[in-house]
């Protein structure tokens, strides 16, 4: 394992892509709510999970770190409770499919205790021991493998581990801000992860802004800076430019906050999923940051904070997130609640629709009477959820290519998926992308196809094959 100081020399400049500058970005102030009283763990959040089976029953009391369910098909996928309290509901849907486990949290969180380590202990831990502890603590689920973007398999030896230290999605939470003061844990987390990376651990940072304090003293990791528009912050794009995935390769990715959780777990011996999240979007009164815990009910954040009621609540960002109800829950992998105006209204073609001049509705195109390109980069847009058109046959070419900063041909890949042609999918780069990497294609698409769903279908085909 390399242990030199990180080198800041390498900068990757990306030209392709498109920034979506939305109104209602979170202001950098941290708010603390009285604890949200209910938390939920939602199996469908976990990519690659197949057959979740609860390990507890309704009425059981759990501690933060107690196991909630495991996957009968994949023994390494176990989730643990983010808080202590009482299991108040185990909700099942069709065919007894587990939908969520709801926990009523205690006022003061009780942690299940695991083994504590000093910084030097960590360097002496062996890989098997770390695997065991991560699986047991439920933190393993934070390791996402590429290809396919599913929870990593502990049997694999990844050729590298990648972490993106910045997020270029619209309304994205500022990672430097959300990780403020977590240097110690982040560094400890890196030391743990370095036990896996048979190659290198990589951290991608933005070349267009200052290095956040949490990363400024970081060591034992290869730092690369990326400049350019979204999706420069996507870990998939960074992998493509540093150490692309070929057939048979496995790379692991992990979000920065999960590195902190892992560091905290090894240093303090507890599963402490506290994190800072952003509440943002044009329909939020005071978009700002909150300290909370994974799986929190969003109800308390939204109450009194919405401009109006006709909105869409999204766990995650507006390009890739999951729509949730106003009394829904923050997804396990999300650090952002976005609130957008719902766009379920007809638009007359001359006044608002397809033949109207538009300067306030963003477009990557300059087609007739679309003037948003004149606004410059500073302009913030208030966009609703309307599709702005009907689904149509695929006609326009050369559009997707402009927003994907990778050497692959998105249209041909998507067509291979739709044709269910496995060899073509493989040859055209299915191993290198997950939904978020082609999310901009879905945004710019003139034919209004659900590109991300197509990508997921392709990945599922590859997984089944």
């Amino acid at each position: 394992m390399r242990a030199e100081k990180s080198t800041m020399s390498k900068i990757v400049r990306l030209k392709k892509g498109f920034d979506i500058n939305l109104a209602g970005k979170a202001e950098k102030t941290l708010d603390k709510l009285d604890r949200t009283e209910t938390f939920a763990i939602i199996p469908s959040n976990y990519p690659g999970l197949q057959r979740p089976k609860p390990s507890i029953e309704e009425g059981d009391t759990v501690k933060a770190g107690s196991e909630l369910f495991f996957d009968k098909k994949n023994a390494h996928i176990r989730t643990t409770s983010p808080v202590s309290g009482e299991v108040v509901e185990i909700k099942r849907g069709d065919k007894r499919k587990l939908e969520y486990i709801k926990i009523l949290a205690d006022k003061e969180i009780q942690f299940k205790s695991f083994k504590e380590n000093s910084v030097s202990d960590i360097t002496n831990l062996d890989q098997e021991d770390i695997k065991k502890q991560l699986i047991e603590s439920g933190l393993w689920v934070n390791l996402i493998q590429r290809p396919f973007g599913i929870i990593a398999n502990p049997e694999d030896q990844p050729k590298a581990i990648f972490i993106s230290g910045f997020d270029t999605h619209p309304l994205a939470a500022d990672i430097g801000f959300t990780l403020k003061g977590q240097e110690k844990y982040f560094q400890a987390g890196i030391s743990v992860l370095n036990k896996f990376a048979s190659g290198t651990a990589h951290l991608g940072l933005s070349a267009d802004s200052e290095v956040p304090s949490v990363f400024s003293q970081i060591k034992d990791i290869q730092v690369t800076k990326f400049s350019g528009p979204h999706p420069a912050g996507n870990v998939g794009v960074q992998i493509h430019h540093l150490d692309p995935i070929n057939k048979g390769d496995v790379v692991w990715t992990i979000r920065p906050i999960a590195v902190v959780w892992i560091g905290r777990f090894f240093l303090e011996g507890k599963v402490d999923l506290r994190q800072t999240i952003a509440l943002a979007g044009s329909e939020v009164k005071n978009p700002r940051y909150f300290e909370t815990i994974a799986g929190a009910s969003v109800k308390n954040f939204l109450e009194g904070n919405l401009e109006n009621e006709h909105v869409r609540i999204i766990s995650g960002n507006p390009l890739t997130g999951q729509r949730i109800d106003q009394d829904g829950y923050l997804g396990y992998y999300d650090n952002l609640i976005s609130v957008l105006p719902e766009g379920d209204n007809y638009k007359f073609f001359l006044t608002e629709g397809w033949f109207s001049p538009q300067i306030n509705r963003l477009s990557a195109s300059r087609a007739l009477l679309l003037f948003s390109f004149l606004n410059g980069k500073k302009k913030e847009y208030k966009l609703d959820t309307n599709m702005n058109g009907e689904e149509r046959a695929f006609v326009q070419t050369g559009v997707f290519e402009k927003v994907v900063p990778m050497d692959l041909l998105p249209v041909y890949l998507l067509k291979a998926i739709m044709a269910e042609d496995y060899d073509e999918m493989e040859a055209l780069g299915i191993y290198e992308v997950i939904e978020e990497d082609l999310a901009l294609c879905e945004f710019v698409d003139v034919s209004k196809m659900d590109v991300q769903q197509i990508v997921r279908d392709g990945i599922n085909l590859m997984l089944e094959a």
Binding site: P170, P244, R323, G343, S365, L369, V395, K448
Partner: protein, 399 residues
């Protein structure tokens, strides 16, 4: 517009599943979406916000880019008529005269093409695509004003059915439908489309003495390659109307030809619109211009006959080349789809155009066949570009 919306809302249930006119859902949808962008919102997961662009706006951009050509073509139809009969007339007179001949062609093209589109939409249960809005305008612009209306209808129906629907509808066609309509007439009814006189003479009009309705391309064929060859530029200047084929007139477009293609100037305005909006591919336009220039200059060097000696820039102002470069070659569906492929496709289309024009002048306008031929080759070009991408990926793995 609430009252209009109310009307749609009121009748809509009749067209939906279980309604009285369930079968007519897609034609209804076509009209409804023409008036109102639907209230459909983004799905539960994925991109919750979408670009303001849609296919209708994209197509409308092309149609707007065609309007200068259409208006000029209408005027020029009248202009050529009055030159032929040797009368003076003012702008409006010429314009109205032209409208009388051109507008029916436009109407017939749209009516027959959209008719087919609607029938297929009903029977194959798919939405009516906006693509024909552009095709329906392109077809009249590449027809001579003298074309019989029934031929316009037959050609349009042929091309929509045989070129588009048979291959699976919009987005699936291999050939450019508008060019196919013209090629169909060219081979099926050559007397009208390759006839010598494209100028509307009107009923009993007497032409002035010495009148010839020859087009710039037919002069190039006859004087440039035949037995009585003469310097082409001299041939142009010794035309019965001496100024008719000056380079300036040919650039402005006051010459006989198909309705919308004579004016290189109007085509350039259209090109500016397509390029500024990013709707037309600059790669194809530029590479095709380069292809024409390269081949024409190459022939200049050989210089075996007068046509070969024609300065390369003449090619852009005679015949329908400029129009075809901007509006036909750039059709995103039938052109090459990869960036590298577009360069190759455009360049070869330009080279072929000059080859057909100069070396095989039995087909005076080479660009129609050149683009159709390149349409057929476009998937092959893309195949190799895509293959190169795959190979790069494979190579990376073994290094």
């Amino acid at each position: 517009m609430k009252f209009l919306r109310d009307i749609f809302d009121k009748v809509k249930p009749n067209f939906e599943k279980g309604g009285k006119y369930e079968k007519l859902y897609y034609p209804f949808e076509a009209f409804e979406t023409l008036m109102f962008t639907p209230k459909t919102t983004a799905p539960q997961k994925g991109a919750h916000i979408r670009d303001a662009v849609d296919l209708k706006r994209l197509m409308m951009t092309v149609i707007v880019a065609l309007i200068p050509c259409l208006i000029f073509g209408i005027w020029n139809t009248g202009h050529q008529h009055f030159i032929a009969i040797g009368e003076e007339a003012d702008f409006m007179t010429k314009f109205l005269f032209g409208s009388k001949y051109v507008l029916p062609i436009v109407v017939v093209s749209y009516a027959s093409g959209l008719g087919v589109e609607f029938i297929f939409a009903i029977f194959r249960k798919h939405p009516v695509n906006e693509g024909f809005l552009v095709t329906g305008m392109l077809i009249p612009l590449i027809m001579p004003a003298t074309i019989p209306l029934w031929q316009v209808a037959v050609a349009t129906i042929f091309s929509v059915v045989m070129v588009k629907e048979v291959f699976g509808g919009t987005g699936m066609n291999i050939l450019n439908p508008a060019l196919t309509a013209r090629a169909f007439l060219y081979f099926a009814y050559p007397s009208q489309i390759s006839g010598d006189v494209w100028t509307v003479l009107g009923d009993k009009a007497q032409t002035v003495e010495g009148y010839s309705g020859a087009t710039a391309l037919s002069i190039a064929y006859e004087s440039g390659t035949g037995e009585n060859t003469s310097n082409l530029i001299q041939a142009y200047s010794s035309f019965w109307q001496p100024d008719m084929f000056s380079i300036k007139s040919m650039f402005i477009g006051t010459i006989p030809g198909s309705i919308g293609e004579t004016s290189t100037l109007m085509v350039l305005i259209g090109a500016v619109i397509l390029l500024a909006t990013g709707v037309g591919s600059w790669r194809i336009m530029l590479s095709m211009v380069l292809g024409v220039a390269a081949m024409a200059i190459g022939l200049n060097i050989i210089g075996a006959n007068e046509y070969m000696n024609l300065p390369f820039y003449y090619h852009f102002v005679i015949g329908g080349l400029a129009f075809a470069i901007v509006f036909m070659a750039t059709d995103p569906v039938s052109a090459a789809q990869t960036f590298a492929g577009k360069w190759i496709y455009g360049f070869l289309a330009g080279v072929l155009t000059v080859i057909i024009r100069v070396l095989n002048p039995a087909y005076p306008e080479g660009v129609m066949l050149a683009i159709l031929l390149m349409n057929v080759f476009a998937p092959l070009i893309d195949f190799y570009v895509v293959d190169a991408n795959k190979k790069r990926r494979l190579k990376r793995a073994t290094v």
